[in-house]
């Protein structure tokens, strides 16, 4: 995170030295773009705040700990698609779940959909890519996540 600020500051400085007018223009572009997607961002944040309330970490842990690996993987994929969690929360949680006996297959299914399929980011995705592409992409990545989970399961000796 720190590096992001440092890099941004350095680039702005270089840009400012090279051409003041262009730098102001880039700020204007940044502002205009941000303003345009502000409603979609707000929708996302509101969805996030509600989703986290409905399915908190405890509930997620409970659902992932099922006995049947296939059914648990599909449930995990559904939860991962709807839930919203930054990596620094999701991966430690996954580590704890693994220690409690949850399989790599289910963890893979959960973390992969968490990263690739985004119910809460759909308002933003839709505003750029349109509804059709948004739906195709999310469905496709849902299937990918299941495939990745199954292969992970094979490599870890949990399936077959």
């Amino acid at each position: 995170m720190k590096y992001l600020y440092i890099i941004t500051a350095i680039l702005v400085l270089i840009s400012f030295i090279a051409d003041r007018k262009k730098t102001y223009k880039s700020f204007f572009v940044a502002y205009k773009k941000f303003k345009k997607i502000l409603p979609a961002f707000l929708s996302m944040l509101i969805l996030v705040s509600i989703i986290i309330f409905i399915i908190p970490e405890k509930t997620i842990s409970r659902y992932l700990a099922g006995d049947n690996i296939l059914i648990s993987s599909i449930i995990a994929a559904c939860i991962g698609s709807i839930a919203f969690m930054p990596g620094f929360i999701a991966f430690p949680l996954s580590g704890i779940l693994l220690q409690n006996g949850v399989s790599y297959t289910v963890i893979s299914s959960f973390t992969t959909t968490l990263m690739t399929v985004g119910f809460v980011t759909m308002p933003i995705e839709k505003s750029f890519f349109g509804l059709k592409v948004t739906i195709i992409r999310n469905l496709l990545y849902f299937i990918f996540a299941i495939i990745i989970a199954m292969i992970t399961g094979i490599f870890f000796g949990e399936i077959f």
Partner: protein, 171 residues
């Protein structure tokens, strides 16, 4: 207009509910409010930088440069460039979408853009390091080596399909 009214109405209901919950100390509503505050704050830390960088990109990078390296006549190297950009993108999908739109505006082809979105989701370096630490290196290696081919293949197929149909990303 109709859609805009629904949006405004939902906002009023939502904020009315949250503020009301604080006034009457209604727990679920207060929790939702604190979630909103939490995540707004988290994103506020990333978003200004992301948009300033997008602004600089649009002003400084020439359309010809992007067209040449990521456009219709670009080759495998285009996907390598986009992989590097994706792996170093900070934040997540919500940052990737506006960046994807800027790339489109500058003339990148759709397959490269679709690949970018997929790769941002899967291959961000800080996130992968976290994953390796808390799950396992073997797990991360399996995930990368299966998802990257899937992402590239699907992006090329989808990209070519939509390119023919004159699909446009809203910029």
């Amino acid at each position: 207009m109709y859609k805009k009214n629904i949006y405004r109405f939902s906002l009023i209901v939502y904020f009315g509910f949250v503020i009301g919950s604080y006034l009457f100390t209604y727990n679920p509503g207060m929790q939702i409010g604190s979630n909103l505050f939490d995540y707004t704050f988290r994103m506020v830390k990333i978003i200004p930088c992301a948009f300033i960088l997008i602004g600089l990109f649009e002003v400084w990078i020439k359309r010809e440069t992007i067209e040449k390296h990521l456009g219709k006549d670009s080759n495998v190297a285009g996907f390598l460039w986009i992989f590097i950009l994706a792996a170093t993108t900070v934040g997540g999908l919500y940052v990737a979408f506006p960046i994807a739109a800027s790339l489109f505006k500058k003339g990148a082809k759709l397959s490269v853009i679709f690949a970018y979105v997929g790769l941002v989701a899967v291959c961000r370096i800080p996130m992968t390091i976290f994953e390796m630490n808390f799950i396992s290196i073997k797990f991360s290696i399996i995930r990368w080596s299966i998802s990257i081919p899937l992402i590239l293949l699907s992006s090329i197929i989808l990209g070519n399909y939509f390119e023919k149909r004159n699909y446009k990303i809203n910029t």
